[in-house]
Each structure stands twice: as structure tokens, then as C-alpha cells.
């Protein structure tokens, strides 16, 4: 294919030495406000560079500094050290306080993901209002995951990299207390004796959930 040739030149040069690659990744990530994946970074580097290795070195270099190389899922970003937040009080972005319903729903999605709307409702014992999920999705913290392969094929919800970045988590596995909750069986999708009291809530919300799920799917 003639398309393969157009950039043969960078290949002819050996990749820059590791220290130089580290400088390059440093510059790229400093300039970016949003986290970037290793792949996105690699796309900006000269051919033959090892973005992953440069990220490792860079992270070690910034260990303990005022600025740190933070990982959120697959993406990387420089963020100021959390212990210095008090110095930046003027820069604090006044965020709208989330309602209790929204924070609980967020926690349920984070700890139980992928989770369906019906499951969120079962855990909270009340119907999830449309606005709550909308708000979380609008914040970029929650997105729609795969459909559950159960009757009705309900959509599931999962948390995003923006969520991880916002809460300073490397991955969803780093959620505080996750291991304890799991050990206590509190994250089991189907607890023992299922279908007892939750039946009370299921009855009234299931249909609605089905409908909503369709809406979400079709509005994509």
C-alpha cells in the first residue's frame, strides 16, 4: 500500500535516549489539562519511543514533589499534591453540592459496577429519579456500560476515568474499603434470601426501569 510510506523518515532515526523521552512526556503532560493515555502520548512522541517506560521514570521523579504524576484508569495527568491543597484555596472551583441521592447513587455505581438501574433502586430502596443519573452522567463521572445479558437486556452504569481523576483513584479497585465490603458480602450482586423485602420495591420500579433503559439507549 502506498499509504504506508508517507512517514518513513522518523523510522530512519533511532528513538531519542530514555532521558529525552522522559522530558518529552513531561512536556506533553504538563501542557495538557486532561489526563492522557499512554497511547495518546505515544502518538505525539517520535517513532520508537517507549511511553510506558518514560511514564514510569517520570512518576518516580515526581514522587514527593509539589506536583505529582497521577494515574486515573488508563490515563495520566500531573496534579498538585493533595497535602498542598490549602495553598490553592483561591482556585477552588465551587462545585454544586451533590444531593444525598446523587452521592449514594454514585457510590453504588462505583462499588457495584456494572450495575443496572433496578439494582441501584433495590439497594437504595427507592426509585432513582431521572435527574440523579443525568447529573452524574453530565458531570462525566458515570457512563453507560454494556447491556446486561438478562431478560430485558437492561443497560448498566459504570464510573469513568473522569471520576477516577476527580477522586484521585488509580482504578476502581482502589475505592476505599472495597476489600472489606466485598469480604462482608455487601457487594454481592445476589445476596442470600433474595427476592424478599426487595420485592416490595421491584414491583413498582421494574417496568419504569425498563422504559428508562430504552430511553437512555436510544438517546445515545
Amino acid at each position: 500500500m502506498s499509504r504506508d510510506d508517507p512517514a518513513p523518515d522518523p523510522q530512519r532515526f533511532p528513538p531519542p535516549p530514555p532521558a529525552e523521552q522522559e522530558r518529552m512526556v513531561e512536556a506533553i503532560l504538563f501542557a495538557a489539562a486532561e489526563p492522557m493515555s499512554a497511547r495518546e502520548i505515544a502518538a505525539r512522541l517520535p517513532a520508537g519511543c517507549d511511553a510506558a517506560e518514560a511514564l514510569r521514570a517520570l512518576r518516580a521523579r515526581y514522587e514527593g514533589r509539589g506536583v505529582q504524576l497521577a494515574r486515573a484508569g488508563d490515563a495520566w495527568a500531573f496534579r498538585t499534591a493533595a497535602d498542598l491543597g490549602f495553598l490553592m484555596q483561591e482556585s477552588v472551583v465551587e462545585s454544586r453540592r451533590l444531593s444525598r441521592a446523587a452521592t449514594e447513587t454514585l457510590a453504588i455505581i462505583a462499588y457495584h459496577q456494572p450495575v443496572t438501574r433496578a439494582e441501584i433502586e433495590e439497594i437504595r430502596g427507592v426509585a432513582v429519579s431521572r435527574g440523579t443519573l443525568d447529573q452524574l452522567i453530565e458531570l462525566g463521572w458515570v457512563r453507560i456500560g454494556r447491556r446486561r445479558q438478562t431478560p430485558g437486556r437492561p443497560v448498566t452504569f459504570v464510573v469513568t476515568e473522569v471520576f477516577l481523576d476527580h477522586f484521585g483513584l488509580e482504578s476502581a479497585r482502589d475505592l476505599p474499603g472495597l476489600a472489606e465490603l466485598r469480604a462482608a458480602g455487601l457487594l454481592d450482586s445476589r445476596p442470600p434470601g433474595e427476592g424478599l423485602a426487595p420485592g416490595l420495591f421491584d414491583g413498582e420500579t421494574d417496568e419504569e426501569t425498563g422504559g428508562q433503559a430504552e430511553d437512555l439507549f436510544e438517546s445515545e
Partner: protein, 285 residues
């Protein structure tokens, strides 16, 4: 039943509409005597603040906390009593309870009776103990998620404790267009051009009609050799100037062709007067 922590005193909306002497900065305004304390208290109707709870499970969780035990050890029987007492109180105060609160009350009453009676060996479905255990599990799970939410919100959050680069640099996007054309496209294009005539829709062979394409072809070929002004009639093909019908067709087609070529700026047309011969010449370049 006497001391119920979840019954919160809320000022009656009607009472609130009046100036509240406790907060009114000018209670001694003329004509507005301070209200007697007793009257004031009477207006503060004790209301069950059901709206503060997010459903029966939330209410049950709040009630279970009054047992001051670990949620694992919560007495579901006692909880059922507490809940039913709450619902009774609300009813006594003529408070409209949402349907799901009443469904839960009915279910808890049923659970309570099952728990108190000796187990029926004939009964199908889960035992009363299973149901009670599941309710306890639900409460514990909801409580756990609540605590998780609080822990999550207390983390070092971006934009509050951790900050992104304040002055991110913009990345210039250079757009390069690579035009794609392969040899195959080129050959197809050429083949299409050179065989186009063969794919023209079939038309009747009208022997006595000169098409404009034919005339165009002819005039285009001849105009280069016509040095000066030449009559249009001289451009008619051989064999087309005898028969009137053929001549008419040829003349019309040739004239149309000269108009087209004039439009393209390749030749000029002149006519001395009405019905005078039409002459054409190649446009001087």
C-alpha cells in the same frame, strides 16, 4: 412511644406565615403585641417529617440506629415494632403516608407475626428468619453504601484539594490532506472515459438529424483552420446541404454548436443584418 426521635417538630406553615416573634427584629412595632408563649406553642404543630426520609428503607435504617447496636445484631422484631409505631403515630396525626410506607408496614406486620409464631412446617417459601436476615442485610448494605459515599466525597478531590495545570498549553493541530488515488482509480477513470460512447443510452438512428454533438465535433475541428470570417453554411458536413430537411437540421445543429463555442470563448459570431448570412471566426487569442 413517648420519646420518638424521628418525630421532628416543624413549625406549621400557617404559623410561619405570621411574623415569628423569636426572630422578628421589631416585635414592639405598634399594633403588633408579642404573642403569648402558649399560643405560639399551639401553632407549632408536631409534624412527622416523612419527607426527610428517602423511602421506607431509609426510615428503617434511621430507626435501627436508635437500637444502638451493630447493624448485624439489629433486632428485626424490635425494628418492626418501631416502624409500626411510627406509622401509627403518623396516622394519628392524620399524615398522608406514601403507599410504599404502608406496604412496608403491612409486610413488617406479616413478618412480625411469622417471627412470633412457631414455624409452620407446611409453609412454602423462605422462613421468617430468612426474611428477617435479608432485611437486616439490606439495611447493612444501604448503610455501607452511605458510608462509602461519605468517604468518597471526603477524598482529595480535583479542583478542591488537587489541581490541574492552571494554564494548559494548546496543542496546535496541523491538518495535512493526503490525496488518495491509486493506479487502479486512474485506470478505471481512463477506461470509463474511453468507453463512454459505448454506454450511451440507445437512441433511434435518425438518419436525417444532425446532432449537436456531431456539429460541435465538426465545428471544433474546423474552426482552427478558418482564418477569417467564414459563413456558417460552409461548416455544414458534406451531404447535408442538399435535402432541405437535412440542411435545416444541420444548420440548426451547427448554429447551436457555434453558440456553445462562442460561450466557451473560442469563436466569435457576426451577422451584418436581419436574415443576413451568419459568419464565424476563431477568436483571436
Amino acid at each position: 412511644m413517648t420519646k420518638v426521635p424521628y418525630l421532628t417538630p416543624v413549625p406549621d406553615p400557617q404559623a410561619r406565615a405570621q411574623p415569628d416573634p423569636r426572630t422578628d427584629p421589631a416585635p414592639h412595632l405598634p399594633g403588633l403585641a408579642p404573642q403569648p408563649a402558649a399560643e405560639r406553642r399551639a401553632e407549632e404543630v408536631l409534624v412527622v417529617d416523612v419527607s426527610g426520609f428517602e423511602g421506607p428503607l431509609d426510615l428503617l435504617l434511621t430507626l435501627s440506629r436508635t437500637q444502638k447496636v451493630d447493624l448485624m445484631q439489629v433486632s428485626v422484631l424490635e425494628l418492626a415494632d418501631q416502624y409500626l409505631a411510627f406509622v401509627d403515630k403518623a396516622r394519628a396525626l392524620r399524615i398522608e403516608l406514601a403507599a410504599d410506607y404502608l406496604v412496608m408496614a403491612a409486610w413488617l406486620a406479616y413478618l412480625k407475626s411469622r417471627l412470633l409464631l412457631p414455624p409452620d412446617p407446611e409453609a412454602e417459601g423462605p422462613s421468617a428468619e430468612d426474611m428477617a436476615a435479608h432485611l437486616a442485610f439490606q439495611l447493612e448494605r444501604l448503610n455501607a453504601m452511605r458510608e462509602a459515599a461519605a468517604r468518597l466525597m471526603a477524598r482529595d478531590r480535583l479542583g478542591q484539594d488537587r489541581f490541574a495545570r492552571g494554564a494548559p498549553e494548546t496543542v496546535a493541530r496541523q491538518r495535512q490532506v493526503a490525496w488518495q488515488a491509486g493506479l487502479i482509480d486512474l485506470m478505471r477513470a481512463y477506461a470509463r472515459l474511453r468507453t463512454r460512447d459505448e454506454f450511451r443510452p440507445y437512441a433511434f438512428d435518425r438518419r436525417d438529424v444532425l446532432s449537436m454533438e456531431q456539429a460541435l465535433e465538426r465545428v471544433r475541428g474546423l474552426i482552427g483552420y478558418a482564418g477569417g470570417w467564414t459563413e456558417l453554411a460552409d461548416f455544414l458536413p458534406e451531404g447535408w446541404d442538399g435535402d432541405p430537411q437535412r440542411r435545416r437540421s444541420a444548420t440548426a445543429a451547427t448554429f447551436a454548436a457555434t453558440l456553445e463555442l462562442a460561450r466557451q470563448g473560442r469563436l466569435e459570431i457576426a451577422q451584418a443584418g436581419s436574415f443576413a448570412p451568419i459568419t464565424i471566426r476563431r477568436r483571436p487569442q
